[in-house]
């Protein structure tokens, strides 16, 4: 069963206290695909410009990602420039050039419409909806968002939330959207928006999953050196959805494990600039880190 993702493919310039990277391959769909690609076949829907380096396309293909849905439009590729301070928890956006993303009207290739698993990465909720409408009979749909859409397109966001099963977002966004400072109450309120599962990402503090009255918690992998947090949330989503897309049934046990796989993939992501580490992960690395997570939390 294939996993479809729609999101951004970007050229990122990032500075952190550990160094910097100029115009590296990035974007929500990229991080998600590279991460989920270690679990399953990923179909990518996104847009790049004429300036998008061929080597990046070859890299994505080398990770087994289906790029038939990666449109090449006239114009420049989406660019983002950001900076992280000492605490590494929040990026300061220095520049965002939408470029070809501004007029992106995603059309799914015929072969993508039967996808059973869908991830609507962080883009305009109207685009998320447009893509979802083209999927014939999805079994599990998850979406992410960001503060920008919460503030600028609340109605569209509410509409897409009524159509998804899993809502993944970070702690600050959850509180902002629910207008509630207590995280547990915020999560319950978000469950009322439509999704039956809410996953709240807390960066170096791990992640929480809520379904009905069930709550579960995955730690973040303790790392001696965090190079670049860019893409951690999308890598998390990639591990989470990649794992679930290979399961026949999705019960509590699978959700708990998916949360851990999400944490594992996020931990690889932040260990290198851009895709330096995540892009080199092998399946065996994941299994090794899964054991470490077990040891971290068992009592």
């Amino acid at each position: 069963m294939s996993l479809l993702v729609v999101g951004s493919v970007a050229l990122d310039s990032v500075r952190t206290p550990r160094g910097e990277i100029r115009e590296g391959l990035g974007g929500s769909a990229t991080y998600f695909s590279v991460s989920a690609g270690l679990f399953t076949k990923v179909r990518m829907v996104a847009v790049v410009g004429r300036d998008f380096p061929r080597k990046h396309v070859r890299f994505l293909q080398s990770r087994g990602i289906d790029v038939q849905g990666l449109e090449r439009a006239s114009g420049k590729t989406f660019r983002w420039e950001g900076e992280y301070g000492k605490d590494l928890n929040e990026a300061k956006s220095l520049k965002t050039e939408l470029n070809v993303f501004q007029d992106f009207r995603p059309e799914l290739p015929e072969g993508y419409r039967g996808s059973r698993h869908v991830f609507l990465a962080n883009i305009d909720p109207d685009l998320q909806e447009r893509v979802l409408q083209q999927v014939e009979d999805p079994r599990l749909v998850a979406c992410d968002t960001m503060n920008y859409w919460i503030a600028s397109k609340p109605e569209s966001l509410r509409r897409i939330l009524r159509k998804v099963n899993v809502f993944l977002l970070n702690e600050g966004e959850a509180k902002q959207l629910a207008q509630e400072d207590n995280l547990l109450k915020a999560a319950r309120s978000l469950l009322g928006f439509g999704p039956s599962i809410v996953v709240i990402k807390r960066g170096e503090y791990g992640a929480l999953l809520f379904q009905g009255n069930m709550v579960c918690w995955a730690p973040a992998y303790p790392l001696e050196s965090i190079q670049d947090p860019t893409g951690a949330g999308d890598s998390f989503a990639g591990g989470f959805m990649g794992y679930l897309s290979r399961r026949k049934a999705i019960g509590e046990r699978e959700l708990r494990r998916a949360l851990v796989y999400g944490s594992i993939m996020a931990s690889f992501c932040v260990e290198g600039f851009g895709l330096m580490r995540l892009g080199r992960v092998r399946r065996g690395d994941i299994a090794g880190r899964y054991q470490v997570f077990r040891n971290l939390t068992r009592f």
Copy 2:
């Protein structure tokens, strides 16, 4: 085997977004004793003034705490006034009146000197050392501290750290003392100061324990309503040390469980103002919450 604690007994005035309490029973030794008292017999070493209400002494005794070491000195009881903002993670100290604490020179009652388990709660590290010197043959010694002592008495703090087995402190203090922003590196650096076990408390994000190369992680109990975080760290230490003081051997398994019991006791503490909730906990409540912790983290 009895557990000895030295620390403060105070009258606390606290304001949080949920309400306030005026001159309630507080202090590090109080929270620790009430929490640890649910696991073992606690011997308290502290000082109060002539104005200290008798009902508070009766309350401590009703929780099974040995108050023979609670000195009543001429002068006023230590008072603290603090306030918490919306995020509840850090108190703003509005007023600190040391009063009788200023001239406190703890002398252990004869019967306390044989204590095998010792907790040096957050007070002047010179007083911590003075108390420890009077204990004949301690088996397990833990200590806490705060930013104030890290900045004002670094030498004394380093001296006491060479004599303890367990060092419990919060995340910000760990980074401050180790002069290191990465928590894992900070913990390793603190292990080099003397203690063989370092426990880093992270409030609503749980706690981490480090021993050699072993790391373990306990979540915080997700609560719908946090009334007052005052005393959470000492309640954590109380659960941690209270549990350990009843174990014959202290291996990895016991340390992992102690971390969870610490988290459980902290969760009770923050559910009410002052001792409103913690002071009413029964042993059965602890067992119930232990099961919830298991469900929270198993995968």
